[in-house]
C-alpha cells in the first residue's frame, strides 16, 4: 500500500509494525479515518433505531473529514508528495456545516415519522413496498 506508507521511510515494512515504529504521519490519521468510516457504515447497516442510523452517518462524514484534514497538512506529508493544502481544511469546514444542516432536516423528518407511527424503529417503515 503505497498510500499508507506515503509519509513513511521508503523501506518496505509490514503495515502495523510500520505504524508503530514510524513518526506520526498521514498514514496514522488515515487509519483513524478508516476506522470511523467502517464503524459508521456498520452502524448504518445494523442499527434499527433511526437515530442510531443518523449517528452512523455522522461517523462516516467525520471519517472523511479526518482524511481531508490529514491530507491537507504539509507537516504530515513527506517531502515531494502532493498536499491538498488549504483546500482540504476548507472542505472539512463545509462538510461540518452541511452535516449540521442534514442532521437538522433528518431529525425533523424522524420526529414527523414518530408523530405518525409512534416509533422510530426503521423496521416499522414497511408500508411502501413492491
Amino acid at each position: 500500500m503505497n498510500l499508507l506508507t506515503a509519509g513513511l521511510p521508503s523501506t518496505a515494512i509490514p503495515l502495523f509494525a510500520g505504524l508503530l515504529d514510524a513518526p506520526v504521519g498521514v498514514a496514522h490519521y488515515l487509519v483513524v479515518g478508516a476506522i470511523l468510516f467502517t464503524s459508521g457504515v456498520v452502524c448504518m447497516a445494523l442499527k434499527r433505531n433511526a437515530l442510531g442510523v443518523l449517528m452512523g452517518i455522522e461517523l462516516v462524514l467525520n471519517g472523511a473529514n479526518v482524511n481531508f484534514v490529514a491530507f491537507s497538512s504539509p507537516y504530515l506529508r513527506g517531502e515531494g508528495s502532493a498536499s491538498l493544502g488549504l483546500d482540504g481544511q476548507l472542505i472539512a469546514l463545509f462538510v461540518i456545516l452541511l452535516a449540521a444542516a442534514e442532521a437538522a432536516v433528518a431529525l425533523a423528518i424522524t420526529l414527523n415519522f414518530y408523530n405518525n407511527h409512534a416509533t422510530v424503529d426503521i423496521d416499522q417503515a414497511d408500508d411502501l413496498k413492491g
Partner: protein
C-alpha cells in the same frame, strides 16, 4: 504560487475574476437566490402575507429564465461547428477560481431547469398540493433544490460536487415529507433521508481518497495528475485506492440517478410523496444528476492542459485511456442492469406513481448508455462523442415534457378520482376522452414509438451506440448495451399499454366520484401545454436538437 504576486495584484485579480467574469455568468443562480429571500420575506411581513408565494416564485423564475436564455444565446454557434478544439475553448470559462465552470452544457441544463420551473409552478398552482399555508415553504424548498441542481450542472471542483449534491438533496428530503399528517409521506421522507445521507457520506469518503491521493480537487488538474499516476503505471496500490475512491463517488451519483443497485428509495418516495414531488424529482433531479455524471466522467476522463482559466483540451487524447475504460465499464454495466431491472419491476405494479417510478429508473438506464458511449468515443471519434452528448441533452429536453406530463395527469386525476391506483382509471375514456388521449400520447412517447418526441430521443441514443460500435470504441460493451436497449424497449411496451387498456376497454366502476375531466379548464390547459410539445417535438425536432448539439459541443 507565483513569487512576484503581492497582495495588491492578488486582490485586483480576484476582484476582476469575481466581478467581471464570474458574477455576470452566475446571474441565473443569483436571481433564484434572490427569489428565495423574497418568498421568505413576503411571509414575514404582515402586509405582504396575503400575496401568493407561487406568483412571487413564478415572477423570479421568469427573470431567471430570461437570463438563462440570454446566456444560451450568447454562445457562438459558428465557432463550434467546425469541430476544431479551439471552438470549445472560447466558450469554456472557469468561474470563482475554478470552482464552477460555464460552458454550453451548463447553459443548456440551466435553461432546461428554469424552463421546467416555469411550467412546474403553474402546474402546482392548478393541482393545489401546496395550499396557501404551505406555499412559501414549498416554493422555497423547490427553488433551493433547483439552485443546487444548477450548481450540479456546473461543478468543476469536488467540493462543489459534494455541496451541490447536498444542496439538491436536503430540500428534496423535506419535500418528500410535505404531507405531514400522512403515514406514507412520513415514511417516504425518512427512507429518502436515510438512504440519501448514507450515499452522500460514502461519496464524501470517496472524494477524500481521490483528492488526497491526487493532491487536488480541481477536476482538470485531477485529470492531469491521474494521467501521470495511472498511465505511468506506478505503484499498483495507488491505482487500487483510486479505483475504490472512484467507485465510492459512483455510489453517490448512482443514488442521485436512481440507478440499480441504489434505486430502492425511488419507488417508495414516489409512492409516498405527492405526485407533484414525484414529477420534480423525476425530471429536474434526473437532468441535474445526468449533467453531473457527464461533468465527472469528462472531467476525469479527458486530459487537459492544466490549471489555466481557459483549459484547452490537450492534443494527446490517447492519455487516460485506462481511466476512460474504467469509467465506461462502470457506467455501461450499471446502465444495462438499471434499464432491465427498472422495466421488469414495472410489470407487477398496481399504483400509477410506482409504475412511473420504475419507468424513471429505466429511463435513467437509457441516458447512462448514451453517457457511456460518449465517454468511450473520446479520443477515437470526437464528432461521435459530441453527438452522444447531444443525444443525452435532447433526451433530457423531451423527457421534461413527457414525464412531467405523466405526473401532471396523475396529480390532476387524483384530484378527481381520489385515487392513484391504475384500476381506478378503468373506463375513463367514456366520461373524459381528452385526458385518455393525453395519457396515450405521453405513455407512447415514453415507450419511444414514432411519431412522438420519445422516439426521436431514443433513436438518437441508439444511433450514438451504433456510432461507437462502428468507430470501434469499446465494441463488445456497446454491442451488449445496444441489444439490452432494444430488448428493453420491447418489454416496456406491455406495461405502458396495459394502463391504456385499463383506461379504454375495462368497464368503469359504479361508484366513481367526481365529474368528467374536461380539457377546457385550467388543469386541462396545463396538461395540454405539456402534451402538445411531445407531439410537436416528435415532428419538428430540429430546433431543440440544434440547442442540444450546442450543449454537446462541450465534449470536444
Amino acid at each position: 504560487m507565483n513569487q512576484t504576486m503581492n497582495l495588491g495584484s492578488l486582490i485586483t485579480g480576484s476582484l476582476n475574476d469575481t466581478l467581471a467574469v464570474s458574477l455576470p455568468l452566475f446571474r441565473t443562480e443569483l436571481c433564484l437566490a434572490a427569489t428565495i429571500v423574497l418568498v421568505l420575506l413576503c411571509r414575514m411581513l404582515p402586509l405582504l402575507r396575503r400575496l401568493d408565494a407561487g406568483l412571487v416564485a413564478l415572477g423570479g423564475v421568469c427573470f431567471a429564465l430570461w437570463f438563462a436564455w440570454n446566456d444560451m444565446r450568447g454562445i457562438p454557434v459558428g465557432g463550434l461547428q467546425d469541430g476544431s478544439a479551439g471552438g470549445a475553448a472560447i466558450v469554456r470559462q472557469e468561474l470563482f477560481g475554478g470552482l464552477l465552470v460555464f460552458d454550453s452544457l451548463t447553459a443548456y441544463i440551466r435553461l432546461l431547469l428554469m424552463g421546467f420551473l416555469a411550467v412546474y409552478i403553474p402546474f402546482t398552482k392548478a393541482s393545489g398540493i401546496p395550499d396557501h399555508e404551505d406555499g412559501a415553504d414549498f416554493y422555497t424548498l423547490v427553488l433551493g433544490a433547483t439552485l443546487g441542481m444548477c450548481l450540479m450542472a456546473s461543478a468543476n471542483h469536488l467540493l462543489m460536487v459534494f455541496m451541490a449534491v447536498e444542496m439538491a438533496s436536503v430540500p428534496s428530503y423535506a419535500l418528500a415529507g410535505l404531507l405531514k399528517g400522512r403515514k406514507a409521506s412520513s415514511e417516504a421522507a425518512l427512507k429518502y433521508a436515510v438512504y440519501g445521507a448514507g450515499a452522500a457520506g460514502i461519496m464524501l469518503y470517496g472524494i477524500s481518497l481521490l483528492a488526497g491521493l491526487l493532491g487536488t480537487c480541481h477536476l482538470p488538474s485531477m485529470a492531469a495528475e491521474l494521467s501521470r499516476v495511472v498511465d505511468a503505471g506506478s505503484a499498483s496500490g495507488n491505482v487500487m485506492v483510486l479505483a475504490l475512491g472512484g467507485l465510492m463517488v459512483a455510489v453517490g451519483l448512482a443514488f442521485k440517478l436512481s440507478a440499480v443497485p441504489f434505486h430502492f428509495w425511488c419507488p417508495d418516495v414516489f409512492e409516498g410523496a405527492a405526485a407533484e414531488i414525484g414529477g420534480f424529482l423525476s425530471v429536474a433531479s434526473k437532468a441535474a444528476a445526468v449533467a453531473l455524471l457527464l461533468r465527472i466522467c469528462f472531467g476525469l476522463g479527458v486530459p487537459t492542459t492544466g490549471h489555466g482559466a481557459v483549459a484547452a483540451i490537450g492534443a494527446n487524447l490517447a492519455e487516460l485511456g485506462s481511466t476512460r475504460h474504467f469509467i465506461v465499464a462502470v457506467v455501461g454495466l450499471m446502465a444495462a442492469v438499471t434499464c432491465t431491472l427498472g422495466n421488469l419491476a414495472a410489470y407487477g405494479q398496481t399504483n400509477m406513481k410506482r409504475l412511473l417510478a420504475y419507468s424513471t429508473i429505466a429511463h435513467a438506464g437509457y441516458l447512462m448508455m448514451a453517457v457511456a458511449a460518449a465517454v468511450a468515443m473520446v479520443g477515437i471519434d470526437p464528432a461521435g462523442s459530441r453527438d452522444a452528448v447531444s443525444a443525452v441533452a435532447f433526451y433530457l429536453g423531451t423527457y421534461l415534457f413527457m414525464n412531467l406530463g405523466a405526473f401532471a395527469i396523475v396529480a390532476l386525476l387524483r384530484n378527481r378520482l381520489r385515487s392513484e391506483e391504475i384500476d381506478s382509471y378503468a373506463g375513463l375514456v367514456r366520461s373524459s376522452p381528452g385526458i385518455v388521449i393525453a395519457t396515450g400520447v405521453v405513455l407512447v412517447s415514453l415507450i419511444g414509438l414514432p411519431p412522438l418526441a420519445g422516439f426521436v430521443a431514443k433513436f438518437l441514443v441508439f444511433s450514438s451506440l451504433v456510432q461507437a460500435i462502428t468507430a470501434g470504441a469499446e465494441r463488445p460493451l456497446m454491442l451488449v448495451l445496444l441489444v439490452v436497449g432494444g430488448f428493453n424497449t420491447v418489454i416496456s411496451l406491455f406495461y405502458y399499454l396495459r394502463v391504456l387498456k385499463v383506461m379504454t376497454f375495462d368497464p368503469p366502476p359504479a361508484d366513481r366520484p367526481g365529474g368528467e375531466f374536461s380539457l377546457v379548464s385550467l388543469p386541462g390547459a396545463i396538461v395540454t401545454a405539456l402534451v402538445v410539445p411531445v407531439v410537436v417535438l416528435g415532428i419538428f425536432w430540429s430546433g431543440l436538437y440544434a440547442c442540444a448539439q450546442l450543449a454537446g459541443a462541450f465534449a470536444s
